[in-house]
């Protein structure tokens, strides 16, 4: 998990498999599950527009399990409806 590099991903939606993201320069949806963890930086946790650096990861793979619940990098355990 490093500092932001291009291209970045944006959280697109929560879904049963975890979290969907897509690149800012491509409409193609990318599922981060295949990349491992996603790093969500605290300052970017603003109402559904979370910018993630490439290679960013969800902590400890917890988003990888099929669950509508996620653990953010800053520790919040949240539901997709929150």
């Amino acid at each position: 998990v490093g500092e932001s590099v291009q291209p970045t991903y944006r959280i697109d939606a929560f879904h049963e498999g975890g979290v969907r993201v897509k690149t800012t320069d491509s409409p193609q949806a990318v599922n981060v599950l295949s990349q491992g963890d996603v790093h969500v930086r605290r300052r970017s946790l603003l109402r559904g527009l979370t910018l993630l650096p490439i290679g960013s990861v969800v902590v400890s793979g917890w988003w990888i399990k099929p669950s509508p619940v996620a653990v953010l990098r800053n520790g919040w355990v949240l539901s997709k409806d929150d």
Binding site: R47, W76, V77, D82
Partner: protein, 482 residues
């Protein structure tokens, strides 16, 4: 019967069949059980009816590893033992604690929960609590579990009259045991100090009940003095020592008042705990978890809810609209959880000695990745459960996920000293057998939490008492056959 000296004991003609070293919950429970079974016994206590700072000095010891309490403050050298500052938490070990767990090396006891169950009512009475209520599921991964709270029972106060008035329980105070003196495959006598002179008390059966550190220390020292003849199979002696780590796991934005159920002074409370399914599925240990109001810091609650509004706007706004600001609360999520047994966590003898010439304890204690995994996983599971029941939203502490050091500002440990003379089927991994008898010794037994093979999450006292009662029955049956 209180004897003023060993000489007085000898002159009295009182002939105890069991010598019990130590008068904490294990020693006194054992003595009371033996009294019921009409087996005369002798309690030998190093301290007096009250502890003294001088006496406590004997309990000093070095701790190497994680930050831990000062050893001479973590227990009491007096009649009644450490029950003198016990906080009264009562809970049985889970049935699953006794089973071998594939994800937990060295787990599994040679007895089962059902072996201790017959002693529940008697233990309840000794600890002055009502009957235990079974767990209730909150979600599939989190249970509500009941903790009962003893007044707490100070064994030295509550049971002093019973011991003093007994005709089958003898008591020697201010009589530290320096070492156990072996014969062939048995203990022949205990060497004690009275005043400035050492003397031997001959024994039939002897049970060491001096606490979760002192049991190891006394046996290690006796073994060293007698070329391994006290604990012939000593591979596990002093090892597999465990605590219940106590840490703040998270902050929780919840509804005002919810956290107060954990702060009440009721004799029973319900806590959160990972279910057996969760422990098995996620390969973690046990725990009990509760909320604790944050001490007088309005900015803490404000900051927490400010962040909740940022990361969980839908939920936070819904709560605000529904209840208004005044109903909101921020609380700490705290836990006391299971430590995996590991041989490297151990008690050794120091090169420094106490005033009696006995080596001081040196405790090597460190939490490992398994503890961090237990703490992090159960926090997540609790977070999911709080979502499921719409009770609140929690924010895990960073140390759980970023690999940083365990926080040093937390309580750290529950003052629960377990292992060191653990129970096992094999002398390769244990010191005592299923009857708390030291392997290959005919008459040497150990009582207390040092025999725990695993610690579960339950506070030890209740389980110490049940094991002591069971040991009392075993000894009574054994002696009735001879």
């Amino acid at each position: 019967m209180l004897f003023g000296s060993v000489d007085e004991l000898v002159r009295s003609g009182f002939r105890p069949r069991v010598c019990i070293v130590g008068t904490g919950p294990a020693g006194i429970s054992l003595a009371l059980r033996l009294q019921e079974r009409k087996v005369p016994c002798l309690l030998v206590e190093a301290g007096g009816f009250e502890f003294s700072q001088t006496s406590q000095e004997v309990y000093r010891g070095e701790v190497i590893g994680d930050r831990y309490h000062k050893l001479h403050e973590a227990r009491l050298r007096q009649f009644g033992g450490t029950s003198g500052h016990w906080s009264g938490w009562v809970c049985p070990l889970d049935a699953s604690d006794f089973e071998p767990r594939p994800h937990m090396p060295y787990s599994g006891w040679p007895i089962r929960s059902s072996d201790l169950e017959p002693y529940s009512i008697a233990a309840d009475q000794l600890l002055q609590v009502k009957a235990h209520m079974p767990d209730r599921p909150m979600t599939q991964d989190i249970d509500y579990i009941q903790y009962r709270f003893s007044p707490p029972t100070r064994f030295g106060t509550v049971y002093r009259p019973a011991v003093e008035q007994s005709t089958t329980i003898g008591l020697l105070l201010n009589t530290p045991v320096l070492e156990l003196v072996p014969g062939k495959g048995r203990i022949e006598s205990v060497k004690v100090l009275q005043g400035s002179s050492a003397t031997d008390i001959r024994v039939d059966q002897v049970c060491v009940c001096t606490g979760g550190i002192e049991n190891s220390r006394l046996l290690l020292w006796s073994n060293a003095r007698h070329a391994g003849a006290v604990v012939p199979h000593a591979a596990a002696l002093g090892r597999y020592w465990m605590e219940h780590p106590v840490h703040v796991l998270a902050d929780v934005a919840t509804l005002r008042g919810y956290e107060m159920q954990f702060e009440s002074s009721t004799p029973e409370k319900w806590y959160f705990a990972p279910s057996d399914r969760a422990k098995k599925t996620y390969s973690i240990g046990g725990a009990h978890i509760w909320m604790r109001a944050h001490a007088n810091d309005p900015s803490y609650i404000k900051e927490l809810w400010h962040e909740a509004l940022c990361v969980a706007p839908e939920w936070s706004n819904r709560m605000l609209k529904r209840f208004g600001k005044e109903y909101h609360c921020g609380a700490l999520v705290q836990t006391e959880f299971e430590q995996f047994p590991r041989p490297e966590n151990r008690i050794e003898l120091d090169h420094r000695t106490d005033a009696l010439g006995v080596p001081l304890s040196k405790l090597f204690w460190k939490k490992a990745d398994s503890e961090r995994k237990t703490a992090a996983t159960m926090t997540r599971l609790l977070g999911e459960a709080l979502i499921s029941k719409d009770i609140g939203r929690l924010r895990m502490r960073n140390y759980l996920t970023d690999g940083s050091e365990w926080p040093t500002g937390d309580q750290g440990g529950g003052w629960h000293h377990m292992g060191g003379t653990r129970m096992s089927d094999s002398p390769a991994t244990g010191v005592v057998d299923k009857n708390c008898k030291v392997f290959s010794m005919d008459n040497l037994y150990v009582g207390g939490s040092s025999v725990f093979a695993t610690g579960g999450h339950a506070s030890p006292t209740y389980n110490i008492v049940k094991l002591a009662l069971r040991l009392g029955d075993h000894l009574a049956t054994k002696l009735s056959a001879t």
